[in-house]
Symmetry: C5
Subunit: 326 residues, 5 copies
């Protein structure tokens, strides 16, 4: 589905309503310095990409990639054009899961084509933000790439913060005495962090190349803006690595605490067992059938025995409390 198709010239959008594709291709071919069309697709039909490939002369390998999801983030250079893959991230708070979408970008002389797959970052806000900056818009298709990458990376921040919050909850759970060990949740969070790292990390190298000016079709003025995005992406990546390391440590601390809590339980049990065993022994003694057991004939024998039992129980209970086994 084609979402929007606009023609930009001298930093201004030239058409209100989406252009027709053939017209857009014509404008792209005839475009001058800093002039371009931006075509936005969302989950395209099989035919859509074929049509675009024909109109704009996209490379078959790039089109093949754009048809399927689950590509790695990358920037590929095809002489006269680039193909860019980005993974968008959205944190689903309740499920504690990162949902991934994908954005594929074709950029060539006079055109930018964006293909969105799955949920995640809509691009309308990136487009309108860029349209509010005629100075950048006038720098050509590279500016659109910057606007999109900037949006995608900015959308990583809520993901990292969502995970951070959940890690703090998990920490509280682990060290709280009265809550069960959240092993499954820790593992689940770690899985999400690892997956998220795989979406962010491959982006760093292409962003570094963009910052270094390795892509000639991207205007030099934009390098600082890509440096800014690169800096944000590295911040995300460092935080993700920290979270991964923290979760590993939490898993270990959790294991130690499970063992500590087992010690506590074993102590408690053995204290109780000892407390019950002592009066039982006394009772067994006076249950013996010897002829001559003077205590048995004493009137006070029975109450004294009961008192002795109670005294033992109390003494043991106090003792185990003092050594903190109870």
């Amino acid at each position: 589905m084609i979402v929007d198709c606009a023609h930009y010239k001298q930093g201004k959008r030239q058409n209100e309503e989406p252009l027709e594709l053939g017209r857009a291709a014509q404008l792209a071919r005839a475009s001058g310095e800093g002039e371009f069309v931006w075509i936005g697709l969302h989950q395209p039909e099989p035919g859509d990409l074929a049509l675009l490939a024909e109109q704009f002369g996209l490379h078959e390998l790039a089109v093949e990639d754009a048809e399927r999801r689950h590509q790695r983030p990358k920037i590929e250079d095809y002489d006269d054009s680039y193909f860019i893959v980005l993974r968008t991230g959205h944190y689903h708070e309740r499920e504690e899961t990162v949902h991934f979408g994908e954005i594929h970008i074709f950029i060539g002389p006079g055109y930018v084509i964006t293909v969105r797959h799955g949920p995640g970052s809509e691009l309308a806000s990136a487009r309108s933000r860029l349209e509010a900056r005629p100075d950048l818009l006038a720098l050509g298709p590279g500016a659109a790439v910057w606007a999109i990458v900037d949006k995608v990376v900015d959308d990583y921040f809520p993901v990292v913060e969502g995970i951070e919050d959940d890690i703090e909850e998990v920490e509280a759970d682990v060290f709280a005495d009265d809550r069960p060990a959240p092993t499954e949740r820790i593992y689940h969070l770690k899985r999400e962090v690892i997956e998220f790292h795989r979406a962010v990390w491959p982006l760093l190298k292409p962003l570094e190349a963009l910052e270094a000016g390795a892509f000639v079709r991207v205007h030099d003025e934009l390098r600082r803006f890509f440096r800014d995005v690169h800096d944000h992406a590295r911040r995300i990546d460092e935080q993700v690595n920290t979270q991964r390391e923290l979760l590993t440590s939490i898993l270990e601390a959790n294991l130690a605490l499970v063992s500590v809590s087992q010690n506590e339980i074993v102590k408690k049990i053995s204290a109780i067992a000892a407390i019950i065993a002592a009066p039982t022994l006394i009772a067994s003694v006076y249950g013996m059938n010897f002829e001559y057991m003077p205590e048995l004939d004493e009137r006070a024998g029975y109450p004294l025995a009961l008192t002795a039992m109670a005294a033992f129980v109390l003494a043991l209970a106090l003792f185990f409390r003092r050594i903190r086994w109870l």
Copy 2:
């Protein structure tokens, strides 16, 4: 065994039936730009390779390697020719084991010789896929190398997905209360992942060299196709690394859960022990042989004692249920 032997010229197969070896060598020697013979062998007899070495002037070290299996994936440059080793992977779902095969490729002026060892990727489909692309076929022997490497790497995807599925099953097992800890299966999967990584990882560097155009006999037009393969191989490798890390975490989570489950057992046992010990103590008390134990002479003594026991048992059972030990 020679499986197929074809002569390609100007992007078209020249012969229907497999050529005779001597004729193929002749054609190879006389081949022009973009013309070559492709000889396919499967588990060759000792004599086969010697014959080929003589006819095509293969280097002794390359032939020595091709005779034996268990080579590392690599691309070796012998001035006028290359020797390539690939490891094919096939996931045996039921055994949860990756089966490895090997493909050795000799590529020189006017010829491509492929030697398959063990099970795994047949090459007929790679050949017919290539024959359907005269434009690539016309680029010479390098196109055949691309078709083969592309096939081998594409065949890695089902392996990674098979392992992914098994990891998800193992995760479910680990966190299910009523299934035993699948330690052996986790370990076994990790072993397969490590082995598989060893098959994929050494391929990345030669593929990078192919992408960068380090091998002069490979036509420049093909570099993008090798970049595509390289991208796929890196995707595989990143996923394999993720799986390795996940399995390490699962092993740790599994350990924590085994300890947690031990805590549960110990709690249950101690609850049961306490529940039995209490009435036993009461019974022991009334088993004492004191002369003056007024309760013993009461008619209601016995039923009251039994009631007391039952009450204790019930109270304790409720208590332990409330603190969730039972």
Copy 3:
């Protein structure tokens, strides 16, 4: 809030009282070699930075970063100026927490603007230390950068030492028999160390660039001084890495000791259980109701039985003490 604003020329401060901003900008524009103004801000109001940006022509991306906290440490080159982000660290001994602040520095021809966020390193001491060194002051704005970075890095040392002290306390706790396992504290310290590493580590690369003379506006004479700071930062970083590794080992040792202590407890309990079970068995034997049990009729039976019980208890206690279970 503007904290101080001074004009430096030929190695000397030219004004006692803080300058007015407009005047400062004027002086900066007209500044000669080694002459500059240094404006210090602390938690600026939104308007402050906008005003400065206008007066000194600061780049929009740098200003955007300076408005928000939680930037990564970095040095960014904007043709005619640099933007530097530093994270300051302060160890709160009682909470065992590292408190982070941030310092943002704009440096351009004839000016240095420092923006402090949050708690941490005041800069007055860095300023007065620099004012005491006319030789360095005369080298221009780079000298101010050195003074600030040097102060920030020097302030890392008490953090590392504070953590070191706490690690030693934790070690003592772990290996002391009579103190509970400090799992939470170990984890907490590790978290702080990881966070602190994230503040220090990204600084190393820019400092290396300063040492290597990659920033042309920094006088060559200062390179040695930056090398000195770089050396200190690396020392910090190596120590932080060591602490991280130590804390991982402590967590593991802690886990082993928890298990060892469980063994001790289980041994103790079983010894006590055996000690009580033995006399209970004897008592049960003499509680049997057989007609012909000769011992029962013996006058000495009862005292002998009691003696036997006591002897058993003693023997068992001695035995368990010898095998160190008690």
Copy 4:
């Protein structure tokens, strides 16, 4: 002890019997292209090396190293000569230990001197293999170096395979129910693997240099042969790394299984305890001394009580079997 001393010229050995040292030095000094003497020593006396150093002008630092064992594998360039250190490996199957030896090689214009220390790779087979290849022999002293390094690296394969076999045995042990946890053996194997890695790993870099042609005295024709050795060494190294990782995972799996087996034991014990405690409780009840306990006077009381006990025991046993605690 001098083992052999031969003069090679135009690809052929010139003498049957070992040459006298002085004569060998003379021949070396007068040697032309591709002509050299090869002197083989085994555990030399102190004087032997001094004599050789004098005759062949060996560098004092190289001689110092050659006198002592426990050197790291390396290739050192001394203008007119090289000094090479190799570590040989031999797997002692019964002890599951890798035995290390050392080979030191001096190579200069017209001579190769090999010094063997400790057990391990004899070099006679390397020498005779080389003598069977006049084409390589004619390439000068570098060919001898190749023959030796090739032999040393080939001798690593049985070591890796021996360890592989033992790892498979250990895996079987770990996952077998009825065999004790082989912790010590796992640790021991890991130690051997780590030590072996230290012998192989430092060799990779010098072999890469040989492959790249960094050593001018080694004939270019030999570079492919060194590439072959390098490839083998890397294969060994990758396998050793895999083994190290596997052993780490086995140690972890082993730990998990020890805990699982403890759970099994604890379950079994508690089942048995419950099974015994139930009839004991019944017996205690009928051991109470109440006047009015109607069951006691019943003729069928006793057999019924016994039956009740047996029924309880049976019911509990069946129950515990069903929940798999027994």
Copy 5:
């Protein structure tokens, strides 16, 4: 304290008694090729360094570093001079602790100044060893640096060997049945190894630079000697890394063995409990007060009951011994 001060010229010491400082500075200034003074200080007073700085024109940052201990090993280049920091190591066998000292070296045209802090490597032996080598001494101040670094690195070997010995003792302890788990000692050793690594590792890079000839004031003839030291330092570093890895594995093996030993204990306890519970049950049965219990009236009842108990105990004991729980 100035320990020694000598003037070297043409490979020979010129003075027997230590020179006076002023005279030494004079000689240094007037020194020709290969001529220099070597001043050795041990734990200098504050004034000593100031005096030297003035006389020899030492850089303020280097002097600042030399006044304080706890520097990282490094080589700093100050145009006309170098400043070198080395950490010496000495293993205290009884405490199992590495004691660190520091040596700071100033080297410039015509002078070498060595400053020793704390315990560790005296330098007299390095000096006399160098004085015995006129050929090296004649190469100028660099020769003194070599002599010192060589001494420092050679003194690392006993440290590594001492730790190696203790690791072997610890291994024996871990796997011995009758000795307690040496967790604290393992941790302590690992701490020392980590600390020691921090002293050795930063030295590798400067030594590599010395070997590569990056420091112009060091005579080219000495590069081989620095290569030799570099090789030794790398050997140390590789061994230290191996030890670190071994200690990590020992800690893990130790943990597994603690768990295994707990299993053994739990088995033993449960066997004993079962052995005692069985006769207790029998006794309880015959303690029941049923009217009609035929066995009670049998004369042989009591001895038979006792025999049954003994038989049960024996049978259970044999059974538990056979399944190796006892």
